[in-house]
Subunit: 366 residues, 4 copies
């Protein structure tokens, strides 16, 4: 039987193990087998590696991958949008599958909170057959019901993986909080989610964008993306001086909309202050549970804020990302974000590069 190599998280905070798993090519109806061509290392992978979210281990990491269809199970003839699908097609797929039947899927139309949601690279124990449910691998076996998207010919893997789940997440988050053309927008965080949120804000017609974050190479990238100003955490080391500096750019009352893409709890109360009264605040970066922070709820009342969380994304946001990347400017900028490339054997090293915030985007080419 054919085998597939994969990088497995066996134990939190220990190096990933390169393992081999049997590759069952007898597909069930609706399944697909894909050759992984590029797997992005997401910041969430670092949180998973640290053990900050409840997941099964061992697990093959990798939830933002793209590849080529190697085999299609019976009945799987079209991608999510209805385009014909064939072996050899370049594709990307939504990392999660939802049940479509639970309280959240059906009654409350909030499928991101599906009670049975499972995500490739996160929710599947690699000990259980068919094992190959993560992107840090040569092959991935996509379950029936996976939302698969054929990639346009002019959209390179670098762009779609460079944008990663960050762009899907940002599209969902900005859709929720609602950005109006002409808004002044502050983005907290210059990681992949921050830059994706910046791109979405610019494309939505923000009159001014300010990115608060670091390190320097990422702020440089923010400027290349089109940020009107950046505020460096190194140069402005306290919340008080950052508030002052942000207001220098936004006007004395603060931003219409603040997009939190940091992940550290302290960003949230700091961010409330960056909003003008009546402004909007998106809590987008707190995907992992990084613990408590003190805040004063009087601020929400007095500033009459609107605060929203946004969890992950739906398949239609993957389509949104593909359409977003149809614009040449963004297609190129997100591709350019891919600064580090690794082989599958170097998966641990790749993860480490992300953990140390060295990369624009690090990817594995399995």
């Amino acid at each position: 039987m054919k085998m597939s190599k994969a990088a497995v998280l066996q134990e939190y905070q220990k190096p990933l193990q390169i393992c081999e798993f049997p590759l069952n090519e007898e597909l069930q109806p609706g399944e697909a087998l894909a050759r992984v061509e590029m797997a992005g290392i997401c910041g969430t992978d670092v949180h998973l590696w640290k053990g900050e979210l409840p997941i099964p281990v061992p697990v093959i990491l990798g939830h933002e991958s793209a590849g080529r269809i190697a085999k299609l199970g019976a009945g799987l003839e079209r991608d999510w949008t209805g385009q014909a699908l064939q072996e050899g097609d370049r594709v990307v797929w939504a990392s999660s599958i939802v049940c479509g039947e639970c309280y959240y899927c059906r009654i409350k139309r909030t499928p991101t909170r599906c009670l049975k949601r499972k995500a490739y690279g996160i929710s599947y124990c690699s000990n259980e057959a068919p094992h190959l449910r993560g992107g840090y691998a040569e092959w991935i076996l996509l379950r029936a019901g996976t939302s698969i998207f054929k990639l346009p010919d002019n959209l390179p893997f670098e762009s779609i993986v460079g944008a990663g789940c960050a762009l899907n997440t940002a599209l969902h988050g900005v859709e929720r909080i609602g950005l109006e053309m002409g808004d002044t927008v502050v983005i907290q965080g210059a990681g992949p989610v921050g830059l994706a949120a910046l791109a979405v804000a610019i494309e939505s017609g923000a009159a001014k964008t300010v990115v608060v974050g670091g390190p320097a190479h990422r702020l440089q990238m923010a400027l290349e993306f089109g940020a009107d100003a950046v505020v460096s955490l190194e140069e402005f080391p306290t919340a008080a001086v950052r508030l002052e500096e942000v207001r220098r750019h936004t006007g004395e009352f603060g931003a219409d909309v603040v997009l939190e893409c940091v992940g550290h709890p302290s960003a949230v109360p700091e961010g409330f202050e960056l909003c003008r009264d009546g402004g909007k605040y998106l809590v987008l970066g707190q995907y992992a549970n990084a613990g408590n922070v003190e805040f004063n709820p009087h601020v929400i009342t007095k500033k009459q804020l609107t605060v929203m969380g946004s969890w992950a994304f739906e398949p239609r946001h993957v389509l949104g990302a593909i359409q977003f990347l149809a614009r040449p400017r963004w297609r190129e900028l997100f591709a350019k974000q891919v600064t580090h490339r690794f082989s599958l054997d170097q998966a641990s090293e790749a993860l480490d590069t992300v953990r140390r915030l060295e990369a624009g985007k690090a990817v594995i080419l399995p």
Copy 2:
């Protein structure tokens, strides 16, 4: 010169003083002089008395009063809605005046955050002429630009003062958070704001309402208002048991909408948990600054919450309250809330009754 008695907050946490002020009957254009017939004691008055909000002292308290027009300044011929206004008319007035010209009034259309907003009974130092700018007084001198509303003949002072600024505040808050017919609604707090929010939720078609609060006499009132269930803080003394009890009523996933009407910071993180995922949370009770609380912002992301603050109200919400009280059921229930009546000389005692949570609603009849 004629004089007017008034109850003055001279020093925080000390009894109010009964003072006399000269009553200038020479009105400027647009001004109005009103004989106060009934002044409600608001929970905020207790916060002001404690010194929890930045205000000038001495101050004549009283921002939810009603009375009769004694004299109208030149040019003041109609009430806010355009009805003819005459001496002798029974009226209520919005407590605040906004500038209509600042960044928040004009550009951001958020007049509750007007940079020059001033409120009767709160923002005017009684040392400064014309002194009579609070409701705990025989007479009040209403500035030009005050939003005055003629009361319908069938609307007694007990109803409009019994509803007080709580109903205006609740109408604004529920308008902001948005309640859909059929929603399951939890109200945290059984004080005047909580009961008003309950009334608005019921009238908006909530399928189920649950009030979490105390003391017993107020929960009894909540049931009379039409709450489907009450959860007593005495009977359920911890956040964990309250969550369990609330879910017994709302279903296992929690409420569609939670309306915070408590004022204690700890209500907020507790309330986030009472929401279903994708639910909405209104921070309405944190009008005073009661300090910090710990919370986990990951909850906002993961539960995909919408959290909104709402500050005070606009004149149109006073009109909304008058229209709300046109419904006989609510007109009677809010009048029935007035459980304690005091003379002006007993103003301190009245305030104390509210501070000790003994009253439904306490009022002064000056």
Copy 3:
């Protein structure tokens, strides 16, 4: 083989034929066989009978029926909300099934416009096996994927069929147009959709409701439902006098929201005038194509109107209807709408009663 009687529309505008069809009790996975206990005659059935919508004939009419589960196909163990489902359960089902995969279902989240939508009693030719796809029949065979809802024990067939698809439709329509507590609402039409829209408007907190329509027995029913006023087409025979009469009730500027539930094209330009400037207009009654009408689009610009159409409903609105009918007042009023009962053999007579606008609601008890 067991047989089932059914009333079939063989030819437009001719009496329905009572036919017998073989009843295949060998269910496929996910299918259900139900004994129809009550089938409502919808106004749309009259339009179908007249040939005003493109449908296949012959067809077993009946898209608002309820009954008892007789047999469940493999794998069908729960209703749409997740409740356990068993033989003998009293149920109702959504009339339509959508594909969940097309442009409208997936990408635009507008499943009522699904490209492959099919409805019981409308879209299935009775010549084709398994024939029994309409409610005017002893038995109905529900396809896999049908949204089935178990009825609460205290909800009689009279209530759910008395409410019919009209309530589902009204819930969807009012959800789309958005009704705020305190709105003044005019309903054009006093048929089942009009009365259902009235009920939804009242329950949503409308401050005033005015129903324009006829005949007299239906306006009487509107008053029993709780309309504040009715305007009779007989008494006010022109658009001009109706406008005047409506404004007598709504105030000189017109209604905040007008809900069109008539079906005749002329209602629409008339209804635009019934709105205040900046008001909202729901085109709910134009389900059948009843042809053109003249209108002046300048009115939409000048009055700054919001006009919305709403087509049919989604399964969640059937759940909404069941929850709406949990309120005793509405459960009883909708049951009381059922004024005419017929046997299956009298199906043509039942349809005729509806065509002549004689019934509150006519039903068949097969």
Copy 4:
């Protein structure tokens, strides 16, 4: 006494008369006297000239002008945004003044429908002192309460007048209908409103824009503005072929949003068909009453459309236009629209150029 020349509409459809009016330099408090530097000829001026809207005559036309402050009345020290205002400042002003007190201003927050709204160049009879209330004049006397905006130094008169009231109108209209980043947008009409709507759609992140209109020189301008495609009325002379051509660009289901900027009633039913089901349609161009058209309201129900009107604009949209033109690309493109310049004496000729659709934008330099 100093005199000011002005171009007056004395009689519908007759040449404008150049008259002289006395220039009273004794300003009342809050008034301002401005030297008109540039006056745009709006398409609405042609409608007014034809007599299609109820206005007083004689009237000095001109509602989209800009100039320099010559004198400020007592108390007028700041512009609408709060910036200090001085003689010599380059300014633009909102054409209308609203009362701020009527049913629409106050209660329904729809100031564009103010019951007492008056607009420079439209609503003031030039026979009545102080006469100078229109922009086709050397001088204009701005009433107290006029919303005046200081122009940024880098914003030339050509840009702001080139954008004219069309940009304000488009900003208001698109704000109302709501455009989401990624929408496919069709604009009906290539006049100044159509091009402004195109600009706003592009800046709001439309994924694709298609302009349907003419003549050729305006479609060429649409392409320069950034339209993805244009559909010429000459090349595609029937609604049926235009529908086919538009769908070739938008995909088979039609546009997410269609912005009507034509003014001819027949555009509206044609436009409904250009929308996808569930799409949105803005009726923006029907400012003048150009009469009736036949339509089928079943289309609104069946396609589940959202149709909105939008009337004129509020002062905040003038600020929006100034901020929009802060983007160099749009500042230049709108300035470039000014293709024809006339002296005040040539006002009739200027109007005629617009009537014959020859101009990008024609302006008067008084």
